[in-house]
Symmetry: C2
Subunit: 136 residues, 2 copies
DNA sequence: GAGCTGTTTAGATGAGCTTCTATTCAGGAG
DNA sequence: CTCCTGAATAGAAGCTCATCTAAACAGCTC
């Protein structure tokens, strides 16, 4: 089953990742590779308006406020969320492009259905799927 | 707040992740949140036939064989790859379902493009997008 | 069977990460 | 102006992780 190349798998399985690209992706992945930060990201993204106050987040965890603040900083440093102070409270929101970039890495263009369905739907948007990591 | 609209964002941004689910996902994400393991996964997946011998992988890195073996074990423990000994050499291959599960977490069903973004075709595979983590 | 190659396991070391307490900065209330 | 609440920073303790060297296991070749 020698695939003649092209769009068969997820970007990560299409061609070997360069050392530089892997290092940069690992930073982003390491940011979400923590139960607390994963939940923080989920809570921020699923909050009404796409924004969540820190005060809403701290109550959910059995962690101190500085610890939550630290995790938020890690997410912000990785470019996954953005924070804004509005009066007394600080609101965070997800940066969709960054999250989408992570998903595109592992999402195949075809269904990995267990059955014998090797049909592939090379979507028209496949052209925009690139291994480039730097947005600008 | 139970959002009535189901398909608006990536699963991670649709509803808050449960503590248990986040912990399990973090294990898988932590496995790929390393430059070496990310490249190993990419090299295995992009190899001809979807299989790669350990001997092919060790030559690419400036690491000792035991270190590569350790990283492969981490990936295998996380359920991302599977290994099989065939004679002298051991061949590893990606488990597509596991990789797909990671991608589905961050991949939105609609494009979050802020401006005149290229509309992503929500592929037919979107129906299989679920928050379920346990395959069985 | 003896020897060699390929792979994994065991143990140790050093760096990095998560969490805390204590303190400082930002902004509104009286 | 003074005090109070919300959030971030600084520094330290404890733990996990990535990597190495040394040794053991698996299988082929002679």
């Amino acid at each position: 089953m020698t695939v003649p190349a092209g769009q068969c798998c997820a970007p990560i399985a299409r061609e070997p990742l360069a050392e530089d690209a892997a290092a940069e992706l690992a930073v982003m992945l390491k940011a979400v590779a923590d139960p607390v930060r994963l939940r923080l990201l989920s809570m921020i993204g699923s909050h009404a308006g796409g924004e969540a106050c820190v005060c809403d987040l701290t109550g959910t965890f059995d962690l101190t406020a500085p610890t939550i603040s630290h995790h938020l900083k890690v997410l912000r440093t990785a470019g996954l969320i953005d924070g804004e102070r509005r009066g007394t409270w600080v609101y965070y929101r997800i940066i969709p492009e960054a999250v989408n970039r992570l998903g595109a890495l592992f999402t195949p263009l075809t269904e990995p259905s267990p059955g014998p369905g090797p049909q592939l739907t090379p979507g028209p948007a496949a052209g925009s799927t690139e291994l480039e990591l730097l947005p600008a």
